[in-house]
Symmetry: D2
Subunit: 356 residues, 4 copies
């Protein structure tokens, strides 16, 4: 930690700050520059409140050297983490695609979608049973009935199920049905929920909050890891900026940035990240090219009649085309974009063959 003193800080103030550093269990190393004095605090720990030092008289700024997260960091674990949940494998060179409707709406809808996304090459099914909706007047999801439909779709297609849990009191129920528990963007800093999913024994897909910094995002993952769950998938789904032609702004540089800072796999959500169906395939392709470990994409049999997020959902043909493009890129870059199809239908779709 570096403590920068004000240019006119007195000797007393410098002493005081140095003593405070020592009181926090660090060693203070005072460096007198030409215009300012700085104090290097040696032995920094993540738990130490830099805040206390910032309030000391004569202190201009405090700059921590250590990242605030630990278990999530590459410094602690340098090899990439691969997450496996049934048919879904993500990370360490394997690319997984999670696809399905925003909300589970009916048996017919979820089964048709599961079959279609599997055939197009997805390795997991998404679908919301508990829906956090901006307006209390919007459709709120089928709840447990939705979970049962997801389990039915898994039964038929063998696709792993990824579904959102919105409250601690639902974690046990959702974990009975889901292969991966999703924590939504609005709940990224719902710490009680993070602790609960951390203790539930299932992999977790954690979405970045739309105004979360990278440190905040990784600290949210740290809550889950800290609860004993090493199977965390990070999901970039767009941030809030001044842009209005897209629903959110999808900053794909997050992918290589996160790969440098953390061993956890990173997936991209081009559906929420753009908010318009016509932008999804281009951003999916870009995410694969940027090195993402996976995608999570909204697909619906008839987006025009979807109960939620229709405007950003692909229909089956669009998703199929998107997957073909992603597969070509993955092949060109020697990535392993897995599919389940050819294993199960040997004579089947050549276009959907795995890349390795």
């Amino acid at each position: 930690m570096i403590i920068v003193m004000e240019p006119n800080a007195t000797a007393e103030q410098i002493d005081h700050a140095a003593r405070q550093v020592e009181a926090l269990g660090m060693r203070a190393h005072v460096i007198r520059g030409t215009e300012r004095t700085v104090i290097a605090a040696i032995g920094e720990k993540r738990e130490q409140a830099k805040e206390a030092l910032e309030t000391a008289p004569g202190v201009a700024a405090v700059m921590p050297i250590l990242a605030p997260y630990k278990v999530a960091s590459r410094e602690v674990k340098s090899e990439p983490t691969q997450v496996t949940a049934g048919s879904l494998v993500l990370g360490a060179g394997v690319v997984g695609v999670i696809a399905g409707p925003c909300s589970v709406e009916s048996e017919e809808q979820i089964l048709a979608t599961a079959r279609a996304v599997k055939e197009a090459g997805a390795t997991a099914l998404r679908g919301g049973a508990f829906k956090p909706r901006t307006s209390p007047y919007s459709f709120q999801g089928l709840k447990e009935d939705g979970l049962k439909l997801l389990a039915m779709a898994r039964q038929e297609t063998q696709l792993a199920v990824v579904t959102e849990v919105v409250a601690t009191e639902d974690v046990e129920l959702v974990a009975q049905y889901a292969d991966v528990l999703q924590v939504g963007a609005r709940n990224m800093q719902n710490y009680r929920l993070l602790e609960a999913v951390g203790a539930a024994g299932k992999p977790v897909l954690l979405k970045r909050g739309p105004s979360a910094t990278m440190d905040e995002f990784l600290l949210a993952a740290e809550y889950i890891l800290n609860a004993g769950n090493p199977q965390v998938i990070l999901c970039e789904r767009g941030i809030r900026t001044f842009e209005t032609h897209t629903r959110y702004t999808l900053p794909l540089a997050s992918v290589p940035y996160l790969h440098r800072k953390t061993h956890l796999p990173v997936v991209v959500d081009p559906s929420h990240g753009t908010g318009h169906a016509y932008l999804v395939a281009d951003m999916a392709a870009a995410a694969i090219a940027a090195g993402a470990d996976g995608l999570i994409v909204e697909v619906h049999p008839d987006p025009e009649r979807a109960l939620s997020d229709g405007y950003q959902s692909l229909n089956f043909a669009q998703f199929h085309a998107m997957m073909q493009r992603c597969r070509r890129i993955a092949q060109a870059l020697d990535l392993n974009l897995r599919t389940l199809c050819d294993a199960r239908r040997p004579g089947g779709l050549r276009a959907l063959q795995p890349t390795t």
Copy 2:
């Protein structure tokens, strides 16, 4: 709702969109312009998903006319709502000041602070017992012990207690001790929590999420109102922007904007809104001048030793000076900035007299 067709939309697409409008229970009014056709959908309801229409072929954009919130809106209730919770009165011309530490740390700390802020003119005490912290390694609050200390401080000072609740499972417990339940910025879209505090029978102070739009903020309030609780205080506490010299950017134009759109009272948090103690008093004064119904301010006996948020907390002398400045402005603008002090100590602090 206005449906704008693409310039090259076909007659069939226009018909299709019009039929969809009718299918949603509205009347379609097709207007053929020189370059585009638009469809006015008459009979719009808040529940109607504009999203479905956005996905129809040939549709360029859908523009809703109605605000998405209803019970919170001025259109439904034109006179301002005044919220009363013990000593705290806010709204409809009465200005209330909530002050106290970020976290309750000890009996001595909370009692000293309660006395000091009351003497300086605050009408309610804030203090966190359940603390949502960005890092799992930070101090997480005294929990129920903290609530008991807050109740003790109220007992002595008669100050109403405002404290945060972070999870549905804690609502009942916190409601036993608090006069006002605070929902923090990170939980603004934790809808299950909003419903729970809406049902708890206590006034709620709802903080704006740092990337929430005004519509999202008012829809979050709508969840609480919709659960039967009309006593909602909105709190502007800053948004996330590219500025880094302040912790958040405090957009005070929210105050007059919200006053135009909703009848609910609006308070400003200059502590989180700036993140630096030296900026707090100026922003508090500005908030009063802009017409805020109240302030919520972090005050600590010794900010340098605070367990959280010390860098943005005022000490007692700073808070006293801030209140004097706010009182002068309130007087100049004929606002009723209430205090409890002179009522209880008749010979007491002249500087702290109420403005009416």
Copy 3:
């Protein structure tokens, strides 16, 4: 400057970085921490590219200690600068108000406005003759004819004239007519223009660019100061954020922040800062309460017929009411909100008396 090495930086890389520091003319002080090594570079100068160091192998980050601007800083000149331009005085406790139309449109319009704003208490007249417009299809200003009309209005009212210059080739012409040269937000980083107005011998009002950081803003001022012109007024006019209910987001904490970092006076533009006439008076009042040295406000005889910015312009009655409210706040805070009126019409408007 502090150079933070990567956790796994080799001894060679540390040596290399230290030698680079010395090659840049600074002294390198290597501090080996428990997890990382940092190098304090003593003797930092503003001209030194921290960028070079950032690219050295093994370097994680470079943190400059000195602010990048110099002449603008409080460290170099601690007492506040007061700018005087004819009737306009700003800074060091004196508050000035600049008011007038977005564009000069006609003799009648500018004269009527000049009289009205003076009577209401403004001490300078604004009005655009050269208009930078987002669309090539919008009204682009009356050019030199507009400047002549401004001079005519000054002749009659003695109000100093503040008007924008958009290109180096116009500086000489505009300087013949203007008392203060305005550099607009779009040109904040038009360095050639900054140098030209810096050499023109007239005070400059520099508007903050909507995405400029505070360092960039002060460095733009530094260009002008560096060209030999000490009379620079900084203008906060709002930044671009995700908010859409206001045209820009007006971050009033800029006022106390800038007062801490620079000796230059700071004015606020609540017209562009909000983009809606109904928000202007509240933000003007808030700016005065926050300690602004002045305001610049759009006023038009008939906003509905304005050729530009009508939606954010006040009419005369609204401006008069705004000024009364600001005057009350200024009086309450012992600020000197000057007017010209009573000096020239001794029996005149009592409501418009100066505060000192």
Copy 4:
């Protein structure tokens, strides 16, 4: 244009707004909804100030239907524009890569870079001779000497030269040396400069301002097109958001969005868009995958010693690797990523063969 009235607008106000619509030369079509009245204004033109209508009493909002730009729009010209400038071809399925140093520093530096980037597959050389720098204390470029060095590099390598012009008074000089005139992000709304480059008879590369909306960006292009120059290349180079781990946030969804709205080619600048060399190749690959018509990338022989932007410059080996990856993706997607090399050195680098 759709004029939405306030819910409580009077019959008189509705009449007044309708008359205003007619006075602006449009036909007013009044639609009375269940809760509000809206007026459709038929015959909208781009020049019409929606602003005037917004200030009319009783008007809540005005929503234009037409995009504000015209010549740039797909509606006016549906086939994509291909820009050709010497060796550089961009657009309509052809991908061009512009590479070179931030600043021209010396003959040796620019020649070595030109040779290296050509060999790696670039089809144009970038290099700044006139540098707009945030600080007056930074290196400002070699000016005309730099232009001469660029011309020398072109002479040797046949690479087209792309270089920035920062002021109208330099346009003629720069146009003598450059094949493409670059307008930098800081000057995107320097309308006088846009008009000057529009009249200079050379293709223009227009960089998006870091807080420019898409409409503002396209209107800036419209200034150039309107001056008679159809050869405009749009460049997405990142926007300013709350993210600090990247210098700017690079929103690649701009590429497909712009392709839908305009016929002009779109290139991406992953160097400024990320600000860190280690992120550049991933974002370059992503841009190609998203459908960009080209890239502009900073390359330097020795980034550690660059006079500007070293931290985001690639060295030759890094650029070579980036190009190989981009070429693989282009091949996979059947894009024509042209190179000059094999044409000139028939026995030459197999890895650098064009994709078609």
